[in-house]
């Protein structure tokens, strides 16, 4: 089973560039299926990023974010080997979490 959260980091110019991919349908509830029925909404509501347990990014997503949200950000003062933890919660109350070690 593919990990539904993928975290990649690269150290560059004294900081760390991080890419987080969160596999998720991000259904808005506005689309209709082939029979014209509305596909129910199902989307990530919020996502958090922690580095060595410190909250660094608190993201509020929603129906305007594309399927499989891909976030890119940069940490200026995260030490090599720090633990990065990404967590998301969606509109169904489902949650997902993943950890990685920063470059």
């Amino acid at each position: 089973m593919t990990n539904p959260i993928r975290i990649r980091s690269r150290r560059r110019d004294g900081g760390v560039d991080v890419v987080v991919l969160m596999l998720h349908p991000m259904e808005s509830g506005l689309r209709t299926d082939a029979d014209g029925r509305l596909i129910p909404p199902h989307y990530i509501v919020d996502a958090t990023v922690r580095v060595n347990e410190r909250l660094v990014l608190d993201a509020r997503l929603g129906i305007a974010v594309s399927r499989d949200p891909l976030l890119q950000f940069r940490l200026e003062d995260a030490p090599p080997g720090a633990v990065i933890r990404v967590h998301w919660r969606d509109s169904h109350g489902e949650q997902q979490e993943a950890e990685a070690t920063l470059a």
């Binding site: 900081g15 259904e27 808005s28 509830g29 506005l30 689309r31 909404p41 989307y43 509501v45 919020d46 410190r54 909250l55 660094v56 990014l57 608190d58 993201a59 509020r60 997503l61 929603g62 129906i63 305007a64 974010v65 594309s66 399927r67 949200p69 891909l70 976030l71 890119q72 950000f73 940069r74 940490l75 200026e76 003062d77 995260a78 509109s91």
Partner: protein, 162 residues
């Protein structure tokens, strides 16, 4: 439509959702608030009457003063074939940015996403958003002294109205 950076005067929404009644149905269905990006967006929307919103009103409701600024850069394609996946990067050449916002003037919801940043996080975020049609995408950076924003026009061939 050129993709030039825009600062300054407000502008009417460029187009409605490709799915015609999508915006009106969405508002009437009550999904409007349920689908909002958290309590902040809800409190913002409570002050802005649906269905027609002015992004400038939304910006001012996030925090005032809201100023157009050339210290904020919004990067996205000038022309988009598929509005379902549009990469946007918002960068603020500012110190002590606490939050970054991505907004649009053509979607049912004005705020596409927002991000609270801790100290040590660069004031730059990239995300992929859906665009219902052509129009402006806004990036805004919030600091203790207010909101700084910029907007870029984009032409969307096939709206990602979902």
């Amino acid at each position: 439509m050129n993709g030039g950076q825009r600062y300054g005067a407000p502008r009417a929404p460029a187009s409605t959702c490709r799915d015609g009644v999508g915006r009106r149905r969405f508002v009437q269905s009550g999904l409007w608030l349920a689908a909002s990006t958290g309590s902040l967006a809800q409190s913002v929307l409570a002050r802005v009457a649906p269905p027609a919103y002015s992004v400038d009103d939304v910006l001012a409701a996030i925090t005032s003063p809201a100023r157009a600024s050339d210290r904020v850069r919004v990067e996205l394609p000038e022309r988009v074939e598929d509005g379902a996946v549009v990469p946007v990067t918002v960068t603020a050449d500012l110190e002590d940015v606490r939050a970054l916002y991505v907004l649009t003037d053509m979607n049912p919801m004005p705020i596409a996403a927002h991000f609270r940043l801790a100290a040590g996080v660069a004031p730059r975020i990239a995300v992929r958003i859906k665009l219902a049609g052509s129009g402006y995408v806004y990036g805004a950076a919030q600091r203790s002294d207010g909101l700084y924003w910029a907007a870029v026009a984009t032409e969307v061939i096939a709206g990602g109205c979902s």
